[in-house]
């Protein structure tokens, strides 16, 4: 098993949380993991990404080579497109449709959608609405994790356990909402797959 995933979004959208949950679950399944993160300057409302590598064999490079990623998992559509040079032609692009517009020259919605649908394997998820239905828009990142989960080769219960572990310090209600958000995202992806 080998999965190379680019996680992307805007500083503050919780992509490192997604990475942490996948990491926890993968450790439980005895996989090798490397996860490179961006800290510092760009975290203030700028582009943030993480290279997440999972494998049943030892992993060398912390960075995923361009052209071989199995998945881009994004919580923001412009940020999904920013890294398509990493994706292999059979790879999946899975992104939230909700734009975060904090720059003056943000491209129009149509041009973004057509660029995304031009990619062979893509899944668009209205993660914000789905998360709101689950209890809070803050769980949009867990909706996206759910949407990615059918492609991860990690057991669903391992991921759910990891979510519970990750959020347990914040109380039962938060754990519940995030688990629900995950399940909703997963269902959307299974239907669209």
């Amino acid at each position: 098993m080998k999965k190379d995933i680019i996680l992307s979004g805007v500083g503050g959208q919780g992509i490192l949380s997604i990475a942490a949950v996948i990491g926890l679950a993968a450790v439980k399944e005895d996989l090798f993991i490397k996860q490179s993160e961006v800290h510092g300057m760009s975290q203030q409302g700028g582009e943030v990404y993480s290279h997440l590598r999972l494998s049943s064999n030892p992993i060398w490079s912390d960075l995923i080579p361009e052209g071989i990623a199995d998945m881009i998992l994004a919580v923001e559509p412009l940020e999904a497109l920013r890294y398509v040079n990493y994706l292999n032609p059979e790879g999946w692009l899975i992104t939230s449709t909700e734009p975060l517009i904090n720059i003056p020259d943000y491209p129009g919605p149509l041009s973004i959608t057509s660029a995304i649908t031009g990619i062979q394997n893509h899944i668009l998820v209205d993660a914000v609405k789905t998360a709101r239905d689950a209890g809070t828009t803050k769980a949009a990142n867990m909706v996206m994790l759910g949407a990615a989960s059918p492609f991860l080769d990690i057991r669903e219960d391992s991921l759910i356990n990891a979510i519970q572990k990750r959020f347990t310090g914040k109380g039962e209600a938060i754990v519940e909402i995030n688990t629900e958000a995950f399940r909703a995202g997963r269902n959307i992806a299974i239907q669209k797959k």
Binding site: L24, H39, G45, S61, D62, P65, P89, N102, I103, S111
Partner: protein, 536 residues
């Protein structure tokens, strides 16, 4: 503890390694990509139980000196900084190589090739060579752990500080790390020679000779180190030398073994000359992969006979600047990856920006109005979140060079006749190295206005507690600024008019003025509220 595997950032692996290596004190000033080392120590229960020193220092120089003081007293210490921090700490660093150590002293420096969050991409290995001390350059997180743990003992064994060099991609990447047993901390023990640390010329000369006579042992250790691994493949004519993290990229591309090449991994310096000679002897062409400057390449180009070709950053085989990555390595080794898709042209950059509600915004809005009558090009700024004042729509500042330079550059520009000259500096930057510059300004009564945009945090690096919290006005007055010209204001939209007025008044004052614009960083406020809510 032993055999337990934990999931750690490279930075965290260093912190855990040093804790397990018997560290009694961690000293640091924050700076990307090194910040998480100290943060890990501060959050560590073991460190708290052992009462390991773990407070932020005012700057890298004070951190280095405190660490040296702990070493003098016989205990093991680590000092951590980003690469440019070593410029600030260069004086104690260079001289600590001459004094030598008593307790082990590990100097951890995190470089930032490609300048993800920095002003330059200087390569700290040069500093290690400059100081003539051993340098460790881990290729991965496990080595980072092991090298931090063993580096403290190595420092004690050789009697000199040991440098551990990290780069961004290692510092900020997470993987499973296996811990080893915990070494007991040293007790308080003075150096056997109480003159060891007195660098009067006559004694310094002796110490310097001692450092020089130690070089052979450092070289031998590097030669024998299992971290400097040489593989000679029968019949190979291509050699590859990979330093530190670059080794992982090479292994990625070659599929986890030498792939029929001669391969030398280097993770400990001084560079292992015998192993290098051997790979040169067995190869016609040698490729060098170094994260940072072509330090080794420069040395090698002087060595080999003409029939051996050296390929690296200096002949254009690799780019002269920027970090390495697997694609670059693959291209050079003739095993390119399939090309990925082209990024659509609609994808525009998303630069960092002020957080909504940030106090710096209100400072710049007021300053822009107050300066309107004076003309452009007179605002010297500094390093921190407030540097974002360089970007539209604020576009207010004209410099950002090194921490503290705003005040001193304003002094020099005022000397040249640019009056009034303005400095905009953050509170942490001010206590890091702005205070001494302000003393210069006071001494010569420079016609400058210093705005200390005080968000009561070291915000850029994650909101650490700044050294001069709630003491800024007292410090300025203590340095000799006239109390009537140390003004405090609250940068809020509703105070805009009043704030403009204060700035105008102080701009027209002939002499040194300081305006402390104080409002807590919105992120720090939010974090505190979150924690309060959780603990309820």
């Amino acid at each position: 503890m032993a055999d337990e595997k934990i999931f750690l950032l490279g930075d965290e692996a260093v912190a855990q390694g040093a804790l397990d290596g018997g560290m009694s004190g961690c000293y640091a000033y924050p700076g990307t990509p090194s910040t998480e080392i100290m943060e890990y120590v501060q959050a560590s229960k073991e460190a708290a139980d052992r009462n390991v020193q773990r407070e932020w220092s005012a700057n890298e120089k004070t951190a280095m000196e405190a660490a040296l003081g702990m070493s003098y007293a016989g205990k093991r210490a680590m000092v951590c900084m980003k690469h440019v921090g070593l410029n600030v700490a260069a004086d104690p660093f260079m001289n600590a190589a001459i004094t030598g150590v008593n307790g082990g002293l590990l100097v951890v420096v995190a470089d930032d090739p490609s300048m993800h969050s920095s002003q330059n991409e200087q390569d700290s290995r040069f500093y290690g060579k400059f100081a003539r001390i051993p340098v460790l350059e881990p290729s991965g997180q496990q080595e980072a752990y092991d090298m931090a743990r063993n580096g403290l003992a190595m420092s004690e064994k050789f009697g000199v500080p040991v440098m551990l060099r990290l780069v961004t991609r290692l510092a900020h990447s997470r993987t499973a790390v296996k811990r080893s047993s915990v070494v007991k901390e040293n007790g308080l023990q003075l150096p056997s020679d109480l003159h060891q640390f007195i660098l009067l010329p006559s004694m310094a000369r002796k110490r310097n000779k001692l450092l020089l006579s130690g070089q052979a042992a450092f070289a031998e250790a590097a030669e024998k180190s299992p971290d400097n691994k040489l593989v000679i493949s029968p019949g190979a004519d291509r050699g590859i030398i990979a330093c530190g993290l670059a080794y992982n990229y090479v292994m990625e591309v070659l599929g986890g073994n030498a792939g029929g090449n001669n391969l030398l991994k280097i993770s400990q310096y001084p560079a292992p000359v015998e192993k290098i000679r051997k790979i040169l002897d067995h190869s016609e062409t040698v490729y060098l992969f170094e994260e940072g400057y072509p330090m080794l390449e420069e040395q090698l180009r002087g060595l080999p006979p003409e029939h051996i070709h050296i390929r690296g950053r200096m002949d254009g085989t690799l780019p002269a600047d920027g970090e390495l990555n697997p694609n670059l390595v693959a291209q050079v080794l003739g095993k390119p990856y399939p090309k990925g898709m082209t990024i659509p042209s609609i994808v525009t950059g998303r630069p960092p920006s002020f957080c909504p509600g940030c106090s710096h915004i209100d400072v710049y809005k007021a300053l822009k109005v107050a300066l309107a009558g004076y003309g452009h090009g007179r605002v010297f700024s500094d390093i921190g979140c407030y540097t974002l004042g360089a970007l539209p729509p604020y576009d207010t500042i004209n410099s950002c060079v090194d921490m503290g330079a705003s005040i001193t550059m304003a002094v020099g520009a005022a000397d040249a006749g640019l009056i009034p000259a303005v400095a905009v500096i953050g509170d942490s930057t001010f206590t890091h190295s702005g205070m001494t510059g302000l003393l210069d300004a006071v001494d010569k009564n420079s016609n400058i206005l210093v705005i200390i945009s005080d968000n009561s945090a070291t915000a850029m690096t994650g909101g650490q507690k700044p050294a001069g919290l709630d003491k800024i006005e007292q410090i300025c007055i203590g340095l000799g600024v006239k109390p009537g010209h140390v003004r405090t204001l609250i940068p809020l939209r509703k105070n805009h008019e009043d704030n403009v007025k204060v700035m105008e008044e102080e701009l027209s004052h002939e002499g040194v003025s300081v305006i402390v614009a104080r409002r807590e960083c919105v992120r720090v406020t939010a974090k505190r509220k979150r924690l309060e809510k959780q603990s309820k």
